[in-house]
Amino acid sequence: MIWRRWSFALPVVIFAGLAAGLYYGLQNDNESLPSALIDQPAPTFQLASLPGHEPGFSSADLAGHVSLVNTFASWCTPCRAEHPVLQALAATKRVPIYGIDYKDKEDAAVAWIAALGNPYTRIGADDGRVGIDWGVYGVPETFIVDRQGRIRYKHVGPLTQADLERKILPLVAKLQK
């Protein structure tokens, strides 16, 4: 009976399996949720402008070209960390960045942009409703929208230079072809 002979090892095998599973779980990023809107058309919306940054931002602005849509807010600390990355990307003019100012105070947002610079082609002020249409659950989130106006990728959390080089820019280049 080979089973009899080796059954003493069963607890060890079960433990090893459990440990491997938990280790995988630790390494795995299960914080950021996948978007339900991947490959779906971007929502239709019309957002008012921030004072001094007219016009606002509407879904019509996204037509015909690949674009990044970035949600941000002046109260959001990771957005501050991400801002220089967006500034540098905007300077390369490789892809237009559109901003959704999420649940923010107008004057705070205007001051924030005045202090840190404006990487955005258009900015729209959102009270949270358009954010829900985009499936936003926390700022910053960044979407890649293709020429046909479909959402192709969503990045949750602050963008880093590495994120840009590894994921965002290759996909943008592929969609722009």
Partner: protein
């Protein structure tokens, strides 16, 4: 000595026991009386109680994506507030419960549902408890079957040895 100490400690004045019991009962009553805290603010509520009840029912099914382990009915997060208002707006505009949940699900995916739908990806989740039960039943069945193995009759040689032993032991 030991017995003496034991005796002194076991003698507890009856009024102390009664006090303890009373405070226990009062605590239990208080806990039972406290309704679970909900995050719904009065200004969110709908005037129509039937519609509001439906909104509450839907809100309990929807996960707050900020806190993850709370429903939007329980959560104080900003997004939960926005979703509660949205649910009520959809209901007011005449959506059914399913349509309202579908609206939120289309934006946030299955994760927003606190009761995940049965699909290939969730089969293990739903079937897991049944699987464990079956495995347990199988293990128990095996254990009993092993116990019930019929004892083979004694061979002639064994019988001979047995009677020899019995004879030896038998009182004369």
């Amino acid at each position: 000595m030991i017995r003496l100490r034991r005796n002194t400690t076991t003698v507890v004045p009856t009024d102390r026991i009664i006090n303890l019991l009373l405070s226990f009962i009062v605590c239990s009553l208080l806990i039972a009386a406290a309704s679970p805290a909900h995050a719904v603010r009065p200004d969110e509520m709908l005037a129509d109680p039937a519609l509001e009840a439906r909104a509450r029912e839907i809100s309990r099914e929807l996960r707050c994506l900020v806190c993850r382990n709370q429903s939007i009915d329980d959560s104080d997060a900003d997004l939960a507030h926005d979703l509660r208002v949205l649910v009520r707006e959809r209901l007011k505009s005449g959506d059914s419960n399913e349509q309202t949940i579908g609206f939120v699900r289309a934006r946030y995916g299955d994760f927003v549902l606190l009761r995940p739908p049965f699909a290939i990806g969730t089969a293990l989740l739903w079937g897991g408890p049944l699987l464990v039960l079956l495995l347990g039943a199988f293990a128990v069945a095996r254990l009993y079957r092993r116990r019930d193995v019929p004892v083979p009759p004694l061979s002639a040689e064994e019988r001979q040895r047995l009677s020899a032993v019995l004879e030896e032991e038998a009182p004369r």
